[in-house]
């Protein structure tokens, strides 16, 4: 099976080549044989010994074609790779950037301290729309695309959560 990891360019491969009933496994990863001994799986934490070294991964999410985990404190997203998915993703990415989503989400929770644009204003991608305060810092929520403000969904003093819609951009 082929994989892509995070934003790395390399295409990587792996498969299980041998396994015995006492929890010992041989896997071929990127063309090399590796010996694995499973320690356990509990609360989504997978522990194993890979070639005489302890490894642990916390599984966060999984789908039919991807798995998201934390390893060594870093988030790793592993996607099954195939020519087809690559083509699909590219086309999605193109459509995503051209028409895209109308909703502007706040990336953090916070309190609205100022509103920079009003309904009807034109904006470019990256322009500040509103300013939130969180942890004594002021953080701008910026337009995710060029367009025109159709509606501002918040007013100064409001508290917003992460991923709340703060404005509509057309």
């Amino acid at each position: 099976m082929e994989f892509k990891i995070n934003n790395l360019d390399n295409i990587l491969s792996g498969s299980i080549s041998e396994s015995s009933v006492d929890g010992k496994i041989i896997a071929t990863i990127n063309g090399k044989e590796h010996f694995i001994r499973i320690i356990g799986l509990k609360n989504s934490i997978l522990e194993f010994i890979l070639d005489n070294s302890y490894r642990t991964a916390k599984i966060i999410e999984f789908g039919s074609s991807y798995i998201k985990m934390i390893m060594n404190g870093e988030q790793i997203v592993l996607k099954k790779h195939s020519k087809l998915t690559e083509i699909l993703e590219k086309s999605l990415a193109i459509s995503g950037s051209s028409s895209g989503e109308n909703k502007l989400y706040s990336q953090i929770p916070g309190r609205v301290v100022s509103i920079m644009l009003k309904s009807g204003d034109q904006l470019k991608k990256g322009d500040s729309v509103i300013v939130l305060e969180s942890m004594k810092m002021q953080v701008a929520v910026k337009g995710h695309k060029d367009g025109c403000i159709r509606d501002i969904k918040v007013k100064v003093g409001d508290t917003v959560s992460r991923n709340d819609v703060v404005a509509l951009i057309e």
Partner: protein
Amino acid sequence: MGKLISSILIANRGEIALRIIRACKELKIKSIALYSDEDLRSKHVKSADEAYYLGPPAPAKSYLNIDKIIEIAEISGAEAIHPGYGFLSENETFAGKCEEKGIIFIGPTSAAMALTGDKMKCKEIMTKAGVPTIPGSDDILEDVDKAVEIAEEAGYPILLKSAYGGGGRGIRLADNEKKLREEFEMASAESRAAFGKSGLYVEKFLQGIRHIEFQLARDSSGNGRHIFERECSIQRRHQKLIEFSPSSVVDKKTRSKIGEIAVRAAESVDYLNAGTAEFLRDEKGNFYFIEINSRLQVEHPVTELVTGIDLVKLQIRIACGEDIPFQQSDLNLNGSAIECRINAEDPFHDFVPSVGLIPDCNLPYGPGVRVDTYLYPGCNVSGYYDSLVAKLITWGQDFNEARVRMSNALDEFIIEGINTTIPLYRTIMNEKNFINGNISTDYLEKYGILNLMQNQIKERTLKTSDSSIAAALLYSEFLKGQNPAYNSSKELSLSDWVRAGNTKNGI
């Protein structure tokens, strides 16, 4: 040592409230905590002897609510108040209110605080006391000729600043008289348009600046001591990230000289209790006083580790009227200590705040490692307050030992659920300019540290790709075993071994 007080109210939260509670426990003083609605489950509430409800989450309604805090102090019978840092710690009205009510304020008098809080007045006092300040105008300049005159004295390049700007706005650099005159006209017009008045002043432009501060203590008998320096040049947008002591550019002679200046600064405002004199040091080694921070500093543990002095206990003793129990000559600088401020901010995305539940965390420990934090598994990082969630401090016989211990402790420090500045510090601890002491306040930009961090993460991801692929293979095999649709397949499923392993290990 005389009899100490029996109770202290802590007008703060987070790690500093916990730090003060520890000092109280050591002195057998009852600790009284405060909590807003947001902090009912916070660790300082659990650790204090008593905890009183303060109000809604917003600071103005809780930790900045002077009347309510004074009221609780009176109800609980607190003999003293420790303000920590931030919040009301440098609020002269609050200090004054405590004095009025006969509650000991653990910090300077409101009078001294008023002097240190007014930067222009403080600079004036320092100049009179012979403390070197950054050359420039003492007051607002209406006349460009006056500006040129001062520039000639201080030397070019010179900074032109607007009193109504702030945070870098309206700062202009001039490297000769012609340029200064041009810029002055432009800036003056701009300022007049925006604020109705000019309000310009000039200040010497310092290159390759380091931010170095001296810990101070002064008791009610007037004994003043400096407790060595802290190097605080690793900053991001004027916010300190990493501090250490000793500084590689402060030798014994400089330490005594600037330390004595710091003590003189404290004397000139009749300072009481612990404080910090902040200086800028230019490339030529000149030190310029900037201000006195009239409170316990975030980075005080660095000084504690190289001197053995418990600064919070010292603060309490001074506030109770005791004399400082050591002479200047008693102090020894023992080894080296570094602090990293672990902030709940995402260094990969312009340091946006990151808040929420911490499902689990693992604090580093071991020889030479100290953590000051309010984190515990299951706690909450609130967006209402400061982003500092932990301070990691390491000690070593020399800078290098402390640095390597810091690097290892950062690897061990796991905080789930939020993004933190840990990856940035992992990069810095192993970056050659930091290792060699080539630092200044523009260190992050000068050496492209954020890019370096991004690249290192990529390298690390690639390096551990064998492990992450192995984990993915094992986990998907496990899922196959869970899914009845797959159970009919002839392929051997790993889930059996996973389960077997679990049973063996008593899960």
